[in-house]
Symmetry: C2
Subunit: 118 residues, 2 copies
Amino acid sequence: MTRDVFQGLADPTRREILNMIAHKSLNVNSVASNFDVSRTAIYKHLKILSECGLVVLQQQGRERYCEARPEKLNEVTDWVEQYRQIWTKRFDALDEYLKKIQEPKKTNLKPKKHGRKK
Amino acid sequence: MTRDVFQGLADPTRREILNMIAHKSLNVNSVASNFDVSRTAIYKHLKILSECGLVVLQQQGRERYCEARPEKLNEVTDWVEQYRQIWTKRFDALDEYLKKIQEPKKTNLKPKKHGRKK
DNA sequence: TAGATAAGAAACCTTTTGGTTTCATAATGT
DNA sequence: ACATTATGAAACCAAAAGGTTTCTTATCTA
């Protein structure tokens, strides 16, 4: 199963898990011991995190190490950036509009001012 | 009620709503008309978005305009940044360690190299 | 080899989510 | 004044989320 990275980050426990293993990979029990919910509950969170690619579980003997995959967070920052672009375009447009209406009347040397982007 | 911004972003419909109104504030009906779920469903999403501060609803006559509040997204990018810092420290530490062990042998000014754990 | 340990799976429960339909209310336009 | 329109609220529902306890299955280790 694959899952949305935004959904993966939605739960605060999962974000805490990410912080925890960012520093150093830990096995499932070690992660769980830092929380006061059951190991099984934490295991489920880990499963979700791995389903959205934020974590990968590496088997090592009878243990399984939880390794952070922070590259996946780019999807988040990308979305935010893309969002900000839409947002700022809005003001660019307003800006342009304001310039246009405030433009002093000139001698008609040039018929039009145009093509000023960004 | 107040709500987690990460939770606000968890639902794809809500992210789409944000994109939609980033460009231009819209009233509730206009937002809803872009989706194939009911107006009431969209209204609920808008309520959630406003509960986590990503949107503010401005009354204007009998309509209510949905205005984006992108500043709130800083909480998200801040978290990601803080996360990356923890993450990169990990490699800084490894780096330092590698430098240390590759350090050429020197005259024995100091009797022992110690304290290297792990 | 037997007992302990680490983790995955299953069954179950409660609360939250995301949706619906229906009803109420407050501005607007005719 | 009256019908229309924009929105909010309520009651309800199915599915998902987050949790539990119990049971299996590997893998160590004494």
